[in-house]
Symmetry: C2
Subunit: 705 residues, 2 copies
């Protein structure tokens, strides 16, 4: 399927604006890179100072080329960029990538120049990447539109290719994008494209991601972001990746205070709130990795292996200690290392010396390498129903000896029955990398990264995109009438929620003492009483809450006391009255919240209530709205999930009712995103299955206008 | 100071029993390795089949040598080893290392042979390492008593040495021990010794550790263990390491079910219970690392840097994105990346182009490399009081260009003002490693590992060995009389604790209804009542607990009901009576326990009580006994520690009283290690400061004899 960015990534002709003969300078290196990587299309160097460069005709200006140009690479001083781009647009150039720096990242006038560039793109339809970009590289079409030294051709070290599938890399930082490529290349991972987004005046990481998702030569995507600017394109691409099952490994930086501070100045991007990013990543099944080697290890596993059918791993080794370490590592990631069935143990034992073991981890011993026991064990395990993946742990440091023969190993890898992952505890030699690459295997050398990669692969294999929340299915009634004041009390908030179709207990806001009798009649005993005022957000701090009231006399006493205490603590507060509620039945204490993220809009949060939320940070976020199905999935991710599932013999909690509530709240927050800033339901008590939930306290915060 | 193992690690003469001319076989490789590594002492090959090997005179037997021999390397078939060792002992050989396999790891007769070897060592005083060992290597004395290919001399790749300090490696697995060396060598970390312990018939990992701790050429120790056999030597070495401040980085495997299973068969060691190992490691300030590259990264940082004075890190970079990633990574490890003071910011800004930033992370930009801004920023930061460590994040992949000059960088590293750590986001080139090594710097390439290493370094810098618990200071009275039955009830257990000097509330075990009045008079209302029987360990399961009883009538009713319910649920149980207790004041719910570890003996455990213990696994262990000071340190390590410190405006809990109780329980468990198997105090309620603690329930489990 054609994509609007095809002519960007696979240009037939490239103009290099600012071309130079000086190989020590970036413009000179750009031309040299393009040619050394054997770009198969036409190249038009543009520079009024030269007649030709290195045998290529050089043009004074883009207008002089007189041929169709798919891509202009712009590498001239910042102040001259806009003029050059205007000439490009006039000449019908389809795309431009601006390598030059000195725009938004400097602020002031320079930032204004960038705005003009963005406007030019919008007006003319010419697509512009950068400025302040490191360009891109296509290994498929041999387009080196970058000065990154990592794409230099080294005849003495031919490109190692071990993987049948290719990675595509999208990075907002060129330095990191090409560093990912540099490390992936060393492992023998094949590449489609690596692209750096720079300042994103027009083309952003979201649109590049979309290209990779749709590109048939890209099988696994690595994404490095500081902050997404083209949010809608990003979300559309993320959804498409999830729907088509193309894995995306994402690194998001600017998570810490210092990182955020730096991201704000660097490429002028908003790092945003990382919990919101993680929520979006989780929704679309992105694999989050905050370490470069780990991300590349995950990519290596995904580009060499089929998806595993389960989480049972066979650890196969030639060294006892290393095998135990391997088994520990995958176990600690939550994968199983099951003892093998007697049948396969007997088959493997027949291949081993007496001091080997076939239980799992399987130690074929050093002798097993020579006897063929290692290879035959892999053969057996690769077709066995006992395990879903194989981790081979051995030493691959030799420059001359190999424990495998290509004729024996390659067929097993080619069959793609299940993942076969190779880890060397010594540093792997180039020889070993090359030999195993010929069989289609990557040699990995970070054990924890391997464990994480195998766990991520297992999780990704079972990922399912949640069905849409169906905003139309549950349209809340119009709640605008409840959003007229700047602050809402608990009673106001609960009235709003009721209007939105959310079930709450029958409560009475009592404003005169004489109404207490009626209130008691409606709620029954025991009773909770809470002072209500839009000026008192924290009721308990003013002594404004009484619970477990069991007699009429106490109710009347409490009424007076609550009013008195509130007046004493907050004489200026406008008191609405006292909310009289029935005491809720026992249940698991849960907190539900919504908030608005600057990048992704409304978010829904759920966590275990009480002290644990704060102490153990056990909360899960998703972009709102969510369906009840997705809400259940959120609950299952809580560390405290067992509490809802019937912990220590307790009754199983009413998860369907809680999920339904989460979904309703998320739909409300989304529908009123322009009017509601936050909703906090804290706590909601979840009763045993079939007995529903009780909202004990709630607060809706209107958006300030 | 001389050490008994000096002649083992630094022999003046070596006999090689089983020496061979065949370089394809292990005995042949051993001799070749020894010579190629230029062992400076005398070598005596022993083999009746040769007159000489490679120009060295070969002896028919050890008895024929007629010269003092410090070390015999034994590499002959298992069945012939014992005879050879007896000849060694007769000839006065001081030490032997048995490379041969086929002993305890095979079980049966072969294991018995190993026992005989151990007995020989004990009888003759000749020290024996192995069997099934990969030997050892001394880089200091050039002793290659191993066949590991990792010690091969490669003239085409001269040894890279970047660190001023040396690591020593002790590993129970030879494969891993030499793999650690292989990776450390590639980074340029200097080595004293690497030794593999094998089956440990005589010399064990504990004694090797002790050697490294006392050895002046070893500065940082890397330890890889499956399970410690020479526990007392290990603990003495651990204490000595803690006292002298020599860092030990430890990897303990056999932590998972599968790993433990494998460790049991491999080298026949007991992996043991890893929480006990971790408790011992924590006590002695060992740095635990479960990843090879991470462990080596920590070693690299410790061998190049002084200990930091605090946790403030400056992140210095030439690439915005990479700098943010660096700042995120160290921040996520809990270190600070503070904004720099205006003074130093101004000084640094003067060195940078307009688009650089001096806030921290400090982006000197690519231009900052050429202008000298990078080096000058390091100079400034290394003497600044603003930060305690510097992390330099850059690309060191070039084969020709270096961002530093040795004349400028080396003096800063040599000054050792604070740690300066170098991370390359591209794969570092050999050229860069060599260049930086000349300045005394290691180039690291795993960012998360770097973050962990810096955090571990900061933590190690503030480690203090806890003072001894002082068993004599608090000798419990004789509690033996309470340990006569095989099982104890709560009342029995509490009586035992009281006898041991532990404060408990005044409670009454009521055996006849008529005694209830007196009991009430003693406890006062409200009251808790619990059925007591040595046959009913879980009282609530038989309806055996009533709480918050407020009236006399209820007390009498409850008494009958408790007995009735117990008889109905457990008609066979012998009932002691009903324990009548005052209801405890509110407090933070804590669990204290002791248990016996097969390797390390009595352990003390503390955790937050209630559901959180089980759900969030928030418990801390230490080897018993502990002092109150050490108990306080345990409490501070709990994730739930804030709850005791006055969470959300609550009163600060009585940590001194709780610590005192933990210490008392730990002393009791230690003093009665032969009679008490477990103690569980669950819960103990910790009241506000100055108000002590209340033990609500307790169970002492006698050791079965």
């Amino acid at each position: 399927m054609p994509h609007p960015l095809d002519s960007f990534f696979s240009p037939e002709s490239i103009a290099l604006i600012g071309a130079s003969r000086d190989l020590e300078k970036i413009p000179g290196r750009l031309l040299s890179m393009l040619r050394r990587n054997e770009f198969p299309g036409r190249i038009y160097p543009i520079n009024p100072n030269y007649g030709d460069i290195d045998g290529l005709k050089c043009y004074p200006s883009i207008a002089d080329v007189g041929q169709p140009i798919d891509l202009a690479i712009v590498c001239i001083p910042a102040r001259t960029v806009l003029g050059a781009l205007e000439q490009c647009a006039a000449a019908g150039v389809k795309n431009a990538v601006i390598i030059s720096s000195g725009f938004a990242e400097e602020g002031g006038d320079s930032a204004a120049m960038q705005d003009t560039i963005a406007a030019l793109a919008k007006k003319t339809g010419m697509r512009i990447s950068g400025p302040n970009a490191e360009g891109f590289y296509s290994e498929v079409q041999r387009v080196a539109a970058t000065f990154s030294p990592t794409v230099e051709i080294k005849p003495e070290a031919p490109r190692l290719i071990a993987t049948r599938r290719r990675i595509g890399i999208v990075a907002q930082s060129g330095g990191i994008g090409f560093a990912i490529y540099h490390r992936a290349k060393a492992l023998g991972i094949a590449l489609s494209y690596v692209v750096s987004a720079g300042n994103e005046s027009d083309l952003g990481a979201g649109e590049f991601l979309d290209y990779m998702v749709q590109d048939s030569s890209t099988d696994v995507i690595l994404l490095f972001i500081e902050g997404i600017r083209d949010v809608d394109k990003f979300l559309a691409a993320a959804r498409r990746a999830a729907e088509t099952g193309k894995p995306v490994i994402v690194t998001k930086v600017g998570r810490s205070g210092a990182g955020e501070r730096a991201a704000a100045s660097h490429t002028a991007s908003m790092a945003g709130w990382s919990a919101a990013y993680d929520a979006v990543f989780a929704k679309y099944g992105f694999i989050v990795s905050n370490d470069l080697d780990e991300a590349v290890t995950i990519a290596a596993v995904l580009t060499t292996s089929p998806m595993p059918k389960g989480d049972r791993v066979a650890v196969l080794t030639v060294s006892g200690g290393a095998g135990i370490w391997g088994a520990d590592t995958v176990s600690m990631q939550g994968l199983q290392v099951p003892e093998l069935s007697e049948t396969i143990q007997a088959e493997i034992r027949a291949l081993l010396p007496s001091y080997g073991t076939a239980r799992n981890p399987i130690d074929v011993t050093a002798q097993g390498v020579h006897s063929g026991g290692l290879q035959k064990s892999i053969d057996l395990l690769s077709v066995s129903d006992d395990v879903d993946a194989i981790l081979v742990v051995l030493s691959l440091s030799s420059d001359t000896r190999m424990p495998f023969k290509q004729a024996e190993l390659k067929p097993v890898i080619d069959a793609q029955h299940k993942p076969v992952v190779f880890y060397s505890y010594t540093l792997p030699s180039d020889f070993a990398r090359k030999e195993l690459a010929a069989s289609g295997a990557v040699v990995l050398s970070g054990l924890t990264h391997v464990g994480v990669a195998m766990r991520q692969m297992v999780q990704r294999a079972s990922f399912k995109l949640a069905p849409p929340a169906g905003m139309s299915a549950a349209p809340p009634c119009d709640v605008s009438a409840h959003l007229k004041s700047a602050r809402l009390s608990e009673a106001d908030s609960k009235a709003l929620l009721r209007e939105a179709g959310i079930a709450l207990a029958d409560e009475v806001l009592v404003t005169v003492k004489s109404a207490l009798d009626d209130a008691i009649a409606r709620t029954g005993f025991p009773i909770a009483m809470k002072i209500q005022s839009r000026d008192i957000p924290h009721k308990s701090e003013v002594g404004g809450v009484r619970v477990n009231i069991a007699t009429k006399g106490e109710v009347f006493l409490a009424y007076g006391a609550l009013l008195e205490s509130a007046r004493r603590h907050r004489p200026d507060a406008a008191i609405q009255g006292v909310l009289v509620s029935p005491m809720a039945k026992k249940g698991v204490e849960i907190i539900i919240g919504t908030m608005q993220d600057a990048t992704f809009g409304p978010m829904i949060m759920v966590g275990l209530g009480g002290i644990t939320t704060e102490l153990f940070k056990d909360v899960i976020y998703r972009p709102a709205p969510v369906s009840a199905t997705e809400a259940s999935a959120m609950l299952a991710e809580l560390k405290a999930a067992p509490l809802l599932g019937g912990f220590r013999g307790a009754a199983k909690a009413d998860i369907p009712a809680l999920s339904q509530l989460i979904a309703q709240v998320s739909v409300l927050a989304t529908a009123y995103r322009d009017h509601i800033s936050e909703i906090e339901i804290n706590p909601v008590l979840v009763h045993p299955e079939g007995q529903g939930v009780t909202i004990v306290d709630a607060l809706v915060v209107p958006k300030s206008r």
